[in-house]
Symmetry: C2
Subunit: 233 residues, 2 copies
């Protein structure tokens, strides 16, 4: 009766070990940086053997996926009050992006390494990879809320693709943020405000009925290109 003894609802057998390893790793990454943190040190801190850490996580890099998920959850929480309060599309967009910068701030030091693989299509860490699909999908859904629950009216074809476009915009902001050493990330915040205004202008221009042909061909191009870049989406 030993394996069947546990009650349903309790954290499964080794699930606790897994969480312990991840938490330890993230804490050490934050304190000493990614490179300086060895797998041996993580295992030691988590109270397990080195090999055991590899039983739960394929590689050191795979620990980072957990990091993505964690910061994303924090971002979601920070967005709730903003989305409840603001109804204007631009205000919602700015709010969500500033919240991203806010919640990511504690990890600025190590984020460079964490996003290292953004450009490597084969890496599971790339935001475009299928391994990143869960978080990516969720982040796009957040942008869908930004758009759908705003008080503006948009043509259907545009409203459909806009969330993905805004997610790409967010990725670009993050890339800029990685290189931003200005106090308070002032430059990134400026970039957010200016490009959000730009997005609003583009959207409103693109929404004129007269713009339909141009809009259609632009959206077709987007669809076509998307296919290749994000096979999982």
């Amino acid at each position: 009766m030993s394996p069947a003894k546990k009650d349903a609802g309790a954290p499964k057998k080794g699930e606790r070990t897994r969480a312990k390893i991840l938490d330890t790793a993230l804490a050490l990454f934050q304190e000493h940086g990614y490179e300086a943190t060895t797998m041996r040190r993580i295992a030691e801190g988590a109270g397990v053997a080195l090999g055991n850490a590899y039983y739960y996580f394929e590689s050191k890099e795979h620990l980072i996926q957990g990091f993505y998920a964690k910061t994303h959850v924090e971002h979601l929480a920070a967005c709730e009050p903003i989305l409840a309060r603001e109804k204007d599309l631009v205000a919602r967009l700015k709010g969500v992006l500033h919240a991203k910068v806010d919640t990511a701030e504690p990890y600025h030091r190590i984020s460079g390494v964490l996003f290292k693989s953004a450009a490597d299509p084969k890496s599971p860490l790339s935001p475009f990879s299928s391994a990143s699909a869960p978080v990516r999908t969720d982040a796009i859904e957040l942008m869908r809320r930004v758009v759908d629950e705003s008080d503006g009216r948009l043509p259907k074809d545009l409203a459909e693709r806009l969330p993905e476009m805004l997610w790409l915009h967010e990725m670009a902001i993050i890339l800029f943020w990685l290189h931003d050493e200005s106090p308070g990330r002032a430059r990134t915040r400026h970039l957010i405000d200016r490009t959000a205004d730009l997005v609003a202008k583009l959207v409103s221009v693109a929404s004129f009925p007269l713009m339909k042909p141009l809009r259609t061909s632009a959206l077709e191009l987007f669809d076509e290109l998307k296919h290749d870049a994000t096979p999982g989406a």
Copy 2:
């Protein structure tokens, strides 16, 4: 008289060894990929001891700087006939970008790894780093030729910044290309043609005298943001 014996103009003492190591490394990277190529194998292939390779190159990654320089030179050569032939800005831009895709094609397999550090501000391999400044500056100069020797007339303030903007555009194209597995990189080529047309339209609209205020504020934003992203440029 042994050290002073050599004639001026001959390839300096160890300069040959350096070149041998680099050539061997690039060949092996291309054949087996970056990860699979060990420093021991490179040293062996170049006929030197392992430690010797580190005398000439700080790290395995530093071998990649040589790679950047090499492909850039090839790109420059490929652009000459295009720039001599075409005088229309769009045609010149498309020609230069397609040439980039052409010359980079043999290295597509390994480029993912090579650009891994694009997002890491601390890495000397980042295209924005000061270590990459020589190649970056040269690539921007190429874009300046694309603009300056074209037959269109541009307002001075725009013509001044356009080369840097076009270089950023090129970086974005390359990022897309890294993820592009379509035959003949058809999607990247499509992206080039469509965005080059878009650039042309934007440039011509921005050149209207009536657009001067908007153009000025857009260029000011660009100047302001550039400062942080590329301290070396």
